[in-house]
Symmetry: C2
Subunit: 100 residues, 2 copies
DNA sequence: GAGGTGTGATATGTTTAAGTATCATTTCGC
DNA sequence: GCGAAATGATACTTAAACATATCACACCTC
């Protein structure tokens, strides 16, 4: 195994998490994406770079979409993806149904 | 020239617009992205699929970032990128079906 | 413990992305 | 008009993505 690009690892990890979350097997995703299982496995593992078109197909097979966005927008997008915590919710706000 | 994927065309067009907006030559972007000008030209024109890593490098050379997002989030992201018109519903407009 | 399923892993061959080199065309300023 | 720069375009070669096939290992259930 080679030095491997770090970005490939991140992409692979994200792909894998999406697959597990969707409760799909490697074979199922590979077939949906139109690639072979060994190929999908390497993409998920991050040991080999895929083509942009292949990565797009894999992403779509998992309900994801590959897009290009201005770097300046990244923070806003990330906060969109994490509406929970870290924002403005008071940790001890009076819950509506504060039962006893 | 081959049948060409439609998605490649869209990506290429976006890349090209970003380049022109940044007032950079093909050669400059190609060098920043670490690829040759003929290769960059084909990517911009959409006649050939690039690797995901290559596309990432090209995008970054233009101030863009390639990311994977849940498909359900696309509308929200697009409205982020188009703060203009189209989303101009008055906040307190009389709703058409305010059932009463 | 035999069979089925999901995954890890490798070998071989084909396809294609990408580099280098080269030439033609357009658009500048001089 | 005449170079210089930017782009369009192609041929030839190399490196890598991808398919196909195959084996091994873990986990399960019967």
């Amino acid at each position: 195994m080679q030095p491997e690009n770090e970005a490939l690892h991140e992409i692979g990890g994200m792909i894998r998490q999406a697959r597990l979350k969707a409760a799909l097997t490697q074979e199922q995703v590979a077939e949906r994406a139109g690639i072979s299982r060994p190929r999908y496995r390497e993409i998920e593992k991050g040991t080999a770079a895929a083509r942009a078109t292949t990565l797009t197909n894999v992403a779509r097979a998992l309900g994801l979409e590959m897009i290009l966005v201005p770097q300046a927008m990244l923070p806003a997008i990330h906060s969109l993806m994490r509406p929970h915590e870290d924002e403005d919710l008071p940790a001890f706000a009076p819950l509506p149904d504060g039962g006893l």
